[in-house]
């Protein structure tokens, strides 16, 4: 925390911080409208694909009896993975009292909420009978990993929303009290309601801190569970490529890689678009880069275990699966994801030069795309090679190729996730104002005092 300033200085600084951090809320230009238009248009196209699928059945996809899980499941795993960053940044790092990550918490929670919400939605889209969704609750069998997944994904969503909302309350009150006329009236109304009559006294702060601490601790087992349980959807089967004991930590490590990439990209976009150079500084990117290298190294370690150990033994079924990845049909995809999505980023980001905002963002783009394809590689090749031969079926049963409907619906999920993030960014400050102001040495009295006081 910096030195205490005089009230006048503090007020001036707070005004500047508030002004900077509400830019995303105020700003509504052509570009914003265009962005919304793009998102909604593509999301609508995807929804249309979904309607076709509901009408015609899952036959409109490329999945058939052998490859019966395809792109949808890969996409689901991807979204669950990305959402895990909320747990890492706003809980784990917080509890370890690591302070550089504080301004990034809300970005991480935005990503977490959008990703886990979409994971929940798109898994319904993979069901043959979405109309029977309620059977999960009516006839739920607790021995099935799917029930565990439904439980933890829902819990994670709730905790993530709370972790987003609770530290937001003082900000909402601040905007309610100090909001300028540039903020649309309806947004001010929303702030007034959501601020829950926040007054900013010591007792209320205590409640917020207390609640946050409980949530941060609660989210640790839940966060670890969502991706571990998701990995068990595969590891609980007998299939080669999935039948492994390291799937839980392997998935969790991979999740941190994907999530870190997503958060870095978002930080960069906010930094440029909302002119937050002084908030998401080079220092933050540098540290995110170091975190990135760390999680990538852990993931690399698991990858080596996952592929090298069975590769050394080459048991019959495993060897078919692995040859398919190493030198067969999926070799290009496999090696590209390993090199562009893991090894090269690690090598580059060891150097400080590549941990600067632009280079690291470009690296993140590659890593995030590779993360998506990595999930595809985890799901599809294993299904293409069951233990018994695939015979007496048409060619499209043997080789899986996603159809345009599947691509449309997957596109919908991306657009919908971006839409959630955009709405959150447009609605609420992307950095916690009061926390940031306190870091800068502004006293709580000044943060909570009504507008124009002391001027």
């Amino acid at each position: 925390m910096e030195n205490t300033k005089s009230p006048a200085e503090s007020r001036k600084l707070l005004d500047k911080i508030t002004y900077d951090l509400t830019r995303s809320i105020v700003k509504r230009d052509e570009l914003t409208n265009f962005w919304y238009f793009i998102l909604i248009m593509f999301a609508a196209v995807g929804l249309w694909g979904w309607i076709i699928q509901i009408r015609e059945g899952l036959g409109v996809t490329g999945m058939r009896d052998y490859v019966s899980w395809g792109m949808y499941i890969a996409n689901f795993v991807f979204f669950v993975a990305v959402s895990l960053i909320g747990f890492l940044i706003s809980s784990a790092l917080h509890l370890l009292k690591i302070s550089w990550s504080k301004p990034i918490s809300r970005v991480a929670e935005q990503v977490a909420i959008a990703a886990v919400a979409l994971a929940g939605i798109i898994i319904v889209n993979d069901m043959g009978r979405p109309d029977r969704f309620l059977n999960i609750f009516l006839h739920g069998r607790f021995a099935s990993p799917i029930i565990w997944d439904v439980t933890v994904v829902t819990t994670y969503l709730v905790i993530s929303v709370l972790l987003f909302y609770i530290p937001l309350i003082p900000d909402l009150a601040l905007l309610r009290d100090k909001g300028t006329d540039d903020i649309p009236k309806w947004k001010m109304k929303v702030y007034r309601i959501l601020a829950l009559g926040w007054k900013g006294n010591a007792e209320q702060y205590k409640v917020v801190y207390h609640a946050m601490r409980i949530l941060m601790i609660l989210i640790i087992p839940v966060g670890l569970s969502i991706h571990t349980v998701t990995s068990w959807l595969f590891a609980a089967t007998l299939r080669s490529g999935w039948d492994t004991t390291i799937f839980g930590p392997y998935f969790v490590a991979g999740a941190f890689v994907a999530g870190t990439a997503a958060v870095i990209m978002l930080m960069f976009i906010y930094r440029i678009r909302y002119r937050l150079k002084d908030y998401f500084t080079e220092y933050h990117f540098d540290y995110m880069g170091k975190l990135f290298v760390l999680v990538c190294l852990v993931y690399l370690y698991f990858n080596i275990n996952e592929f090298w150990v069975p590769g050394y033994k080459m048991k019959t079924a495993e060897s078919i699966h692995l040859s398919n990845l190493f030198i067969g049909k999926y070799a290009t995809m496999f090696w590209t994801t390993q090199f562009l999505g893991l090894i090269l980023p690690i090598i580059l980001m060891i150097f400080k030069y590549f941990r600067r905002p632009l280079p690291i963002t470009i690296i993140s783009v590659f890593v995030l795309i590779a993360s998506w394809f990595k999930r595809y590689i985890i799901v599809v090749p294993t299904m293409e090679h069951p233990f018994l031969p695939v015979q007496n079926v048409p060619e499209n049963f043997v080789n899986y190729r996603p159809t345009s409907i599947e691509i449309m619906i997957t596109l919908f999920s991306f657009m919908a996730a971006l839409l959630i993030i955009t709405v959150l960014a447009k609605m609420f400050p992307v950095i916690t104002i009061w926390e940031y102001a306190e870091e800068k040495g502004i006293s709580r009295e000044i943060i909570t005092e009504p507008k124009n006081q002391g001027k």
Binding site: E56, G57, L58, G59, T61, M63, R64, D65, Y66, S68, W69, D126, M127, G128, R129, R132, F133, N135, I136, L138, H139, G140, R141, A143, S144, P145, I146, I147, V150, L233, F234, A236, T237, L238, R239, S240, T316, A317, I320, M383, E384, H385, P386, F387, L388, P389, V390, Q391, N392, V393, P394, F397, V398
Partner: protein, 296 residues
């Protein structure tokens, strides 16, 4: 429903395998008789006066007894690989019985070759009806389950179509209705029979169920009866007796397995199948197929 009454009734009289397969009725003739197609593909004539509506248990009753199974039984199948010559009558009968499309298989005759220099052979592969079934374990809604009599069944009125069971099955025994099932419009309004899993329903999983409906009627499964080559033995392990579907000869199950070195598929997986194989030794027919790729 009423329109189907007559044909369904005849099926009952004929003791046909499935109440619904009688819907394959081709034509009716004038006079006292009616021509009907049985599930095994025979065209027969019956007196109209013999027709009476069959008793169809209500859906809930059917589901209830279908979940329980036949008390005191432990069904077991023995497949003699030395007899199989890929006639595929089992596949055909099965697809008729369970209203499957040509590419859908509850039982699939595979061309096998274990290793590079080993002899190729044909292997009919139904659901193994494991005693430790990986598929029922993972079902989130208890739509697939293990019955007392050893059969693993599916309730397609409850299945949500998540396909976890398909992923979990190491024998690729399960199929999914990706599109409208075969001749779906013909079976609109027909009460679901859990023990034959008909009518098939879009968006749900299906698989071999040892023709549980036929077993209830005291008959052998469709595939067993349809085989012209004596490949299949079927029976009750509690009685230690199995009957050959072609010759109708009954023998002692444990002896058959012991004397012929019977085995189960992939025992290392711990699934404990109820389907046993007799090795393809001294084969009655030479292997004439070509081993396809996609082998694992």
């Amino acid at each position: 429903m009423k329109a189907l009454g007559a044909s369904v009734g005849v099926a009952g009289v004929l003791g046909s395998s499935s109440l619904l397969s009688a819907c394959n009725q081709v034509e009716t003739t004038s006079g006292d008789t009616i021509k009907l197609l049985t599930s095994s593909g025979e065209l027969v004539e019956v007196k109209k006066s013999q027709l009476k509506p069959a008793e169809i248990p209500s859906l809930s009753e059917n589901q209830k007894r279908g979940r329980k199974g036949l008390p005191g039984r432990k069904w077991v199948m023995v497949i003699d690989l030395s007899k199989c010559r890929n006639a595929r009558q089992c596949m055909k009968a099965c697809q008729n019985h369970h209203q499957l499309r040509p590419e859908q298989h509850h039982i699939n005759v595979l061309q096998m070759q274990e290793a590079e220099n080993t002899a190729p052979y044909y292997m009919p592969k139904p659901c193994q009806h494991c005693d430790n079934p990986p598929c029922t374990k993972v079902c989130p809604v208890n739509a697939t389950f293990k019955r007392e009599d050893g059969i693993v069944l599916i309730d397609n009125e409850r299945c949500i179509g998540c396909r976890f069971c398909i992923a979990a099955c190491p024998y690729s025994a399960r199929i999914f209705n990706w599109t409208e099932p075969r001749e779906a419009d013909k079976y609109i309004g027909v009460t679901y029979n859990i023990e034959a899993n008909v009518p098939q329903k879009r968006g749900t999983v299906s698989k071999c169920l040892f023709s549980a409906d036929r077993l209830r009627d005291g008959k052998l499964p469709s595939c067993v009866s349809a085989c012209p080559n004596g490949v299949y033995w079927f029976g009750d392990q509690n009685e230690d007796a199995v009957t050959n579907g072609t010759t109708h000869e009954t023998t002692i199950f444990s002896e058959l397995i012991r004397d012929n070195a019977g085995y189960t598929l992939m025992p290392e997986l711990g699934t404990k199948p109820r389907v046993y194989y007799l090795p393809p030794k001294d084969r009655a027919f030479p292997f004439q197929g070509e081993i396809e790729e996609h082998h694992s």
